[in-house]
């Protein structure tokens, strides 16, 4: 159960993660609110993917806790595609649709195959192009009508038309009252997409504020 602001749908409270001796993310507090797009910015190894995985529940925190508003559903796109290589795109979508409790898994799979222009052939997903695997990765995260989308460098392997479609989907999601948190290293993706920017440097949250405020900081100039 999430505490604090009534618009908060998902919150990390003093959450941190250690892998062996390496601290990937120091104690971090972050709130995600409804109808908001948050950009997680930072260089490689800054802790962006770890924070997203912790928010998604795909990783258990070493310290702190993750809270979410009751009934809120989360969709998560990990940086590395997360689906079964020997199953076809449709079989992957149907399996995860059933696990997500979709009432009609077959229809949900058909819809997402169309939306993401994925091949509906009995070909193993492992043989798809890198771009198509990333599309399938994104499509799976949209199953179960999530309220919060956690996208880890979602445009990394997408071509320009697919990137545009992705941002259009994100905007529509926000307009419906949903929240989007995306990790990126690309400053160009902030403009026009992010309402808020969180900067992570070596596992520490170095900045958390509106995009306009971030753009005025020294940090914005050094990270470009």
């Amino acid at each position: 159960m999430v505490t604090g602001d009534t618009t908060t749908v998902l919150a990390a409270r003093e959450v941190g993660r250690r892998f062996g001796d390496h601290v990937a993310l120091q104690r971090t507090t972050l709130e995600v609110r409804e109808a908001e797009v948050v950009a997680l910015l930072g260089p490689n190894g800054a802790g962006k993917s770890t924070l997203l995985a912790l928010l998604a529940g795909g990783l258990t925190p070493t310290w702190g806790s993750v809270e979410q508003r009751e009934g809120v559903r989360i969709g998560w796109t990990p940086q590395r595609p997360a689906h079964y290589g020997r199953l076809s795109p449709r079989e992957n979508l149907e399996l995860f649709a059933e696990l997500e409790g979709e009432p009609d898994p077959a229809s949900a799979a058909t819809r997402l195959l169309g939306e993401f222009e994925l091949p509906d052939a009995p070909r193993p997903s492992a043989r798809l192009s890198v771009g198509n695997r990333q599309r399938l990765n994104l499509a799976i995260s949209l199953l179960g009508n999530p309220d919060v989308l956690l996208l880890d460098e979602p445009t990394a392997a997408l071509d320009p038309p697919q990137r545009r479609k992705l941002w259009q989907s994100a905007v529509q999601h926000k307009l419906r009252g949903g929240a989007v948190v995306f990790a990126t290293q690309n400053h160009e993706e902030l403009e026009g997409h992010a309402d808020r920017v969180c900067v992570l440097l070596e596992g520490v949250l170095a900045f958390d504020g509106p995009l306009e405020e971030y753009e005025r900081t020294e940090l914005a100039r050094t990270l470009v």
Partner: protein, 442 residues
């Protein structure tokens, strides 16, 4: 539970799409089962025994009037061992380094003792220490027993020759001298020619009684030489290859390899595919994940175990082998196979959780399954410690369950005991696997 079943369906689909993997998973344990069978057969092979001839045995020995071809006699009596002639030093060296399991030394005075019969000639036996020692001792005892029997028969034949000479008369050789023996028949004839008298009649009565007594000598001598005779009756039941033991172990070995490897690699593969994070965020709990792999192992074990049992049954039925296949026991066997598959699958899931990566998990499972199987194959009487350790793994309980289910007259007590073991071990390993599965997220 529904989530676990969805994952089982997914894993079966993946398995069906991997014909090479599936073929290897099925063929490999069958090959191992066959090799285990061959090794078990090798355990019955002749041990190599050194023969040190300090007596300088000639090619032929004449004893009790009978000639013995020494090499032929050794060949006949050493059916269960492979005798190799070695010098004393070579034999000692080979015994030390294990090339022979025993040495038999024929001491220098062996022949003179044998010929003189004033004291028993001796053979000196030295065996290796360890588990083979007792078996080799048995083989040596059997060898000496065979040798004694051959000599005994020769002596009986010679003695019976003397008795025959006493009855019917003959020229015999005794201690190198020819002796003319009159014989009771001719003595009786000579007595008949003498004038009747009281003394002649008394001697005639004695000759008559002596002949009657000697008629029984042949059978009596053979009977006293062998108070108890072992008669080998040929049987027409199952051969070793189709025995109950082999059938039980073949199924147990096969499913042990299959389920351990499958469950371990299937669980670790969830991490390799990078889906573990997706599943762990509320879609499938760690307990359900382990359940899914246990159910997968049980399903595949049941399919393969049933196939092996049916093949065995058809072969036995088609060959018309006595004892036949207990078809009515197959449902009980199938229940045991599924239970054993689940128990072994839980152990496999534990390995998968600890190893974290599918390749490592497969390798660790392979490394683990071999000692588990071999511990289960070591007879309790030979190495008790191995049997105790084996109790902690499902393999030996599975093999005993299968054997009882198929062939015990009253299988229920044994089957119930082993089923409890399998359930207990499965639950224990399953709980540990649930804890270990958390490592997949790290």
């Amino acid at each position: 539970m529904r989530s676990a079943l969805l994952l089982v369906r997914k894993d079966l689909l993946v398995l069906r799409r991997s014909p090479v993997l599936l073929g290897t998973l099925v063929a490999y344990p069958l090959v191992i089962a066959l090799l285990v069978g061959l090794v078990a057969g090798y355990a019955n092979a002749k041990p190599r025994v050194a023969l040190v001839d300090e007596a300088g045995l000639p090619h032929t020995i004449t004893l009790a009037g009978q000639s013995f071809d020494v090499d032929e006699t050794i060949r006949q009596v050493s059916e269960n061992v492979k005798l190799v002639r070695l010098s004393r030093d070579d034999a000692a060296r080979e015994l030390r380094n294990g090339e022979v399991v025993a040495t038999i030394t024929i001491p220098p005075d062996f022949l003179s003792d044998l010929r003189g019969m004033l004291r028993s000639p001796q053979l000196r036996v030295q065996t290796t220490t360890g588990t083979l020692g007792s078996r080799v001792n048995q083989q040596i005892q059997a060898l000496v027993y065979s040798l004694n029997r051959q000599l005994q028969q020769a002596f009986i034949r010679t003695n019976l020759g003397y008795v025959d000479a006493l009855k019917h008369g003959a020229t015999i050789t005794f201690l190198g001298r020819d002796i003319q023996v009159l014989g009771l028949d001719r003595a009786s004839q000579l007595l008949d020619r003498l004038p009747p008298s009281q003394e002649r009649d008394r001697v005639l009565d004695f000759v008559h009684d002596a002949k009657l007594a000697l008629v029984q000598t042949d059978a009596a001598m053979r009977a006293t030489a062998n108070p108890i005779q072992l008669v080998q009756v040929s049987q027409h039941g199952r051969t070793w290859a189709l025995s109950a033991e082999v059938q039980s172990y073949a199924i147990a070995v096969t499913i042990a390899f299959l389920t351990l490897l499958l469950a371990a690699s299937a669980l670790a593969a969830e991490r390799d595919e990078n889906v573990i994070g997706r599943l762990a965020r509320g879609l499938v709990g760690f307990g359900q994940l382990v359940w899914a792999k246990v159910a997968l192992a049980a399903t595949v074990a049941l399919a393969l175990g049933a196939a092996i049992a049916l093949v065995f049954g058809i072969v036995i039925q088609a060959a018309g082998i006595e004892g036949g296949e207990p078809w009515e026991r197959l449902p009980l066997l199938f229940a045991g196979v599924a239970l054993a598959g689940a128990s072994l699958g839980a152990l496999g899931a534990l390995i998968g959780g600890l190893a974290r990566e599918a390749r490592s998990a497969s390798l660790v499972a392979l490394l683990a399954v071999l000692p588990i199987v071999f511990l289960g194959l070591v007879p309790k009487e030979v190495v008790p410690a191995a049997a105790w350790i084996s109790e902690a793994f499902p393999f030996s309980h599975a093999a005993r369950f299968f054997s009882s289910a198929l062939f015990d007259a009253d299988p229920w007590p044994s089957v119930a005991r082993e089923a409890l073991w399998l359930v207990g071990l499965g639950a224990g390993y399953g709980l540990l696997a649930r804890v270990a599965a958390r490592r997949l997220l790290a």
